[in-house]
């Protein structure tokens, strides 16, 4: 028995295209045309992007506002907000700031929860009445006395976002994955977070007070061009990669290695993400299986560092091996999937699916609703830990202190534990926030996954690493009692066990040369190589070419004849 409330928080067919490439291709096509507009009219933002920017006027909930935290004047102000443009002074003489945010699609709580969805934690209820953006606008005005107007837009893939920025879209705050914000930082497009943002004495600095020490350490210790991530980026959601599988068809051992992708026992029954980075990681994991799982390697004191080096190996030799492996894999898997993977798992069309943990949680939730049980395994070689983080863009902030303050306040507001819980509940991914002194995150995990008192098969689940940053110790405060099966299911995906988290590593940002090499490799894997064409194929080609030439000659002669007449 578990208490997870599953009544359709997320619409059944609203599959989020996280990092997916089909959307990228669509936008690429659009981009080709937008380029034109951008070149000819750089001042016209209408043409410059394919995003669906809409102004969050905040007028929806205004009428129903009752005795919540809204101030008395809020209603009239909201009404005038509709007409508000960029940063300007309103009739009342009050300053207004416009904040342009671009985030993943369906990656924030949009409110409108049903009464039965209230999350009743010991420290108080959490409930999403209105969209979080509206709540932020109200909170900001109440706290700082300045009106803020959020223009919220979304993107489909990291590459989309990058192309949108290249085409001239301006945003103040964006939320790409780690390799993309590394790219943006290295291209000097990002404004560093202010010193005040890291000041723990300000009670409104929810991010620095609540961020998980474990993740904070990762952001402090990872650098790009000598700049630590934490100076520029504030984490939002994170996760790992793994295999969602049907336990009736696939054993846990079989699913716990990247080699399952080339396992002939599951020929044409596994789908894999259509993403070059994910495939590259899996390929190295499978190719270096023996080394990565050897006890000598595991007991190396520098294990984490060496693991990261192994999985980020981009030597030409390794790229060649990966290409061969991926070609084998392509002949063994069901297909590369763009967004059908989740649905195909739930309907039982495939036996296993390479998935991001957040989407894995979603897939298992969906299957649970149909009373169909799916499990999640994190491969024993290594798993890719990824982060989506907020960065402020130079192009948007332009040295405007008010705007930067609003942007940082937004990060803080969504990092407030109750808001982090709302987002997690709504989108299924895992927040960066462990809460600090606020117990609600821990209470939420227990509310979500904790065992009932009459539960028989329970297990202790150690999350000390997430709350204290210590991945070796055990603090009884942070050991949850959970149903045993949850360890391999949603809980194990949303908050990986300490054993699994130690085997995760970051996939670095590839520089231009590495990117070019790896993309060439990917094209080689995905394209039909003309050298593989059989003899009869060449004969057909020759016949076709001959016919084509004959038609061409006839056509030209005809048009010449017409001219003569």
């Amino acid at each position: 028995m578990f208490r997870r409330n599953l009544n359709g928080r997320r619409a059944a067919f609203s599959f989020r295209g996280r990092k997916d490439s089909s959307a990228a291709a669509f936008t690429a096509a659009l981009a080709a045309f937008s380029v034109a507009a951008a070149v000819f009219s750089p001042s016209l933002p209408v043409f410059a992007g394919s995003s669906t920017a809409f102004a969050n006027t905040g007028s929806n909930g205004a009428a129903e506002e009752t005795a919540t935290e809204s101030s008395t004047g809020a209603a009239e102000q909201t009404a005038s907000e509709i007409n508000a443009g960029a940063a300007q002074s309103t009739a009342a003489g009050k300053k207004e700031v416009t904040l342009r945010i671009c985030n993943w699609e369906e990656y924030i709580d949009e409110g409108g929860w049903g009464e039965d969805e209230k999350i009743d934690l010991p420290s108080g209820d959490v409930f999403g009445e209105k969209p979080l953006i509206e709540d932020f606008e109200e909170w900001y005005e109440k706290t700082y006395g300045v009106r803020v107007h959020v223009e919220y837009s979304t993107f489909g893939t990291n590459e989309d976002l990058y192309n949108m920025l290249s085409l001239g879209d301006t945003y103040d705050l964006v939320c790409p994955s780690e390799y993309m914000f590394m790219k943006l930082i290295s291209e000097d497009q990002v404004v560093p977070l202010s010193d005040h943002f890291f000041d723990t004495s300000d009670e409104n600095n929810y991010y620095i007070k609540g961020v998980s020490p474990y993740l904070k350490n990762i952001f402090d210790t990872h650098e790009i061009d000598g700049k630590p991530w934490s100076k520029y980026a504030a984490g939002y959601m994170w996760g790992v990669t793994g295999i969602v599988y049907n336990p009736e068809l696939v054993s846990r051992e079989e699913a716990s290695t990247w080699q399952i992708l080339t396992n002939p026992a599951f020929k044409r029954r596994i789908t894999i993400k259509d993403s070059v980075r994910e495939c590259y990681f899996a390929a190295i994991g499978a190719l270096e299986h023996d080394k990565l799982t050897s006890s000598a390697f595991l007991q190396d004191p520098q294990y984490r560092t060496h693991l990261e080096e192994e999985l980020n190996n981009t030597t030409p030799e390794m790229i060649g091996r990966v290409q061969d492996w991926l070609q084998d894999m392509k002949n063994n898997v069901y297909s590369f999937e763009v967004d059908s993977g989740k649905a195909d798992m739930v309907t039982g069309k495939v036996a296993a699916n390479y998935q991001w943990s957040g989407d894995a949680v979603y897939t298992m939730d969906q299957a649970d609703e149909d009373n169909f049980k799916l499990d999640f395994a994190i491969p024993e070689e290594a798993s890719n830990i990824y982060f989506d983080g907020w960065v402020m863009l130079k192009n948007g902030i332009r040295g405007d202190a008010d705007r930067q303050q609003a942007a940082e306040a937004f990060i803080n507001f969504i990092s407030r534990p109750d808001n982090a819980i709302r987002n997690m509940y709504y989108i299924g991914y895992t927040s960066f926030i462990s809460g600090g002194e606020d117990p609600r995150i821990l209470e939420y995990i227990d509310w979500n996954y904790g065992a009932d008192e009459d539960e028989k098969d329970t297990a202790g689940y150690n999350l000390t690493y997430f709350f204290t940053g210590d991945d070796e110790g055990t603090d009884p405060d942070y050991v949850l009692t959970v149903p045993e099966k949850q360890v391999n299911r949603q809980l194990g995906a949303q908050y990986p066990s300490v054993g699994n988290i130690r085997r995760t590593c970051i996939m670095r940002y590839f520089d231009k040369q590495q990117n070019a090499d790896i993309n060439r490799m990917w094209v080689n894997v995905r394209c039909y190589n003309i050298k593989k064409l059989p003899v009869w194929g060449w004969c057909l080609c020759a016949a076709g070419a001959a016919a084509f030439l004959a038609m061409l000659v006839l056509r030209i002669r005809k048009s010449l004849r017409v001219k003569v007449q």
Partner: protein, 262 residues
Amino acid sequence: MRFSRKYLGIPYYIFLGLFVIAPLVVLFYYAFTNGSGQFTLMNFAGFFTNPNTLGTLLYSFAIAAVTTVVCVLLAYPLAYILATGRLRRKSGIIMIFVMPMWINFSLRITALKEVLTFLEGNLAMYPFLNAVVGMTYDFLPFMILPIYTTISRLDRSLLEAAADLGANEREAFLKVTLPLSMPGVMSGVSMVFLPAMTNYVVLDMLYNSTYIMGSLIGSYFSAYNWNGGSMIALILLGIICLFTYLSDSDEGQNNTRGGALL
């Protein structure tokens, strides 16, 4: 200033300039420059020396050609029967074939996916077949309609004349109906063949993981290689122009000379 009918054309000139000429100029610019904006022919040479891009071109050709042939074979008899037969409620039957066009594309392909899964068991075993079936399903109406229109507008007196001159039905069909319906077939072919070379969404949705031209261009753009992607788009455009030139029906000229009829 006096109103002239020329002014009515201004919106169209603006449209042409913004959405046809300008993108083409940019496409050319990107195709013939490298990442740092210098003129280069490397993108062009790269396409024709890489066995993978050539293979993709061939693979797209193969899918498009087979799809077109299947579409013609399915559509021609149907259009012929509908246009010449003594069926009642012809428009109703035509509508049945055209109706799928009015249903959302991805919904249709998703439904087809389920049907194919039911028939084939494991879809991943027949990627080429699936692609052809999906494309045929998607493009068939575009083949039926032009052929049907041409045949039904055909002058019946020509067939009577053929009969008077001693042709049997088969000869009359081969010598009169078929040549005169070719413009319809050609316009159907151009509406099926060219989109089929790039419509990679069908392949994606039916689990064919091999790239065709559309997905290849997309992959170049998501790898930030706009130059290479533009060149492939341009090459595709060139091929399309060549085909259009070939299939360009010169019926107008023929009719004035009375050529094809004799």
